[in-house]
Amino acid sequence: MTNTPTPPSESVVQDFANMSAALTGFQPSFIRPFLDPVNLSGIFYSFVVSQVGQTTMDTLMSAFDALSNQTPKLTPQQIANTLLEVSSSTPSPQAQLCQSIIAMWYLGSWYTPGVLGGNGFAPPAIQVISSQAYTKSLAWNLAQSHPMGFSAFTFGYWSQQPASLETFGVDTGNGGGQ
């Protein structure tokens, strides 16, 4: 599918992070912090490219760029709705790829685009991308919680109300999560 992967450029990773923020409903600055030693955005970008190929990824990023450059400016929610084709009952392969990207951020696992589960169950994940992908996955933040064996909370946190969703990185201001 691809040759030896070269690290994606800074601007490409930032672009992917911006699209990921719109799709997941999280703040871009949370998806890709200024200081980002883990660099999930870069890891995830390269992972998706390894799964679907550079051409498919470039096409998706171009679609995102076109949407984010529209005037009047679209909200992240509008961009996500368009990319995900929420008004269509038969989403295109590109929209299915966006679904997989959302699942990747939320669960740290890769699901083949377009492969559906049955009887209300999710399809089987192909792989957990990495330990960090799992512990940093967004589902924990949305639940205002933390994964087993990995917590930045202080002792006794369970006796207090959890911090706000904004604190956990959720973009509650402009339609992140309907």
Binding site: S109, A125, V128, S130, S131, P147, M148, G149, F150
Partner: protein
């Protein structure tokens, strides 16, 4: 296992899990002679690998953190259970006698018999 084979025990407990150990402790405190049989691998100094295994497991089951034992290759729960029962039936690897409140000896190969203390 020669020592163990000639020793009489009041109770033999299969599996040095939480329940087995707690029961063994109480029996030991009550003066019973107890043998614990455990088919699992010795607990490593650092359990970081266990945590990592858990994070990377597709299905987070109670057994996901632990390394697969030889012969336990079943991918289904029933397969794993069957493989484990086979192992348990001929295990001589980690045996521990828990007696009079002595701590169970769960590491190291071969039978560990804590005869008296």
């Amino acid at each position: 296992m020669s020592n163990g084979a000639s020793t009489q025990y009041d109770v033999v407990i299969i599996g040095a899990g939480v329940s087995g150990n707690l029961i063994a402790k109480q029996l030991g405190l009550a003066g019973k002679k107890v043998l614990i049989l455990e088919a699992g691998l010795p607990v490593p100094d650092s359990r970081e690998e266990y945590v990592n295994n858990f994070y990377l497991a597709l299905a987070k089951t109670p057994e996901s953190p632990y390394p697969a034992l030889a012969g336990r290759t079943g991918s289904t729960e029933s397969g794993r259970r069957a493989a484990r029962s086979v192992e348990a039936s001929h295990t001589t690897r980690n045996c521990a006698l828990h007696r009079q409140g002595a701590r169970p000896q769960l590491s190291g190969p071969g039978a560990t018999v804590d005869r008296d203390s």
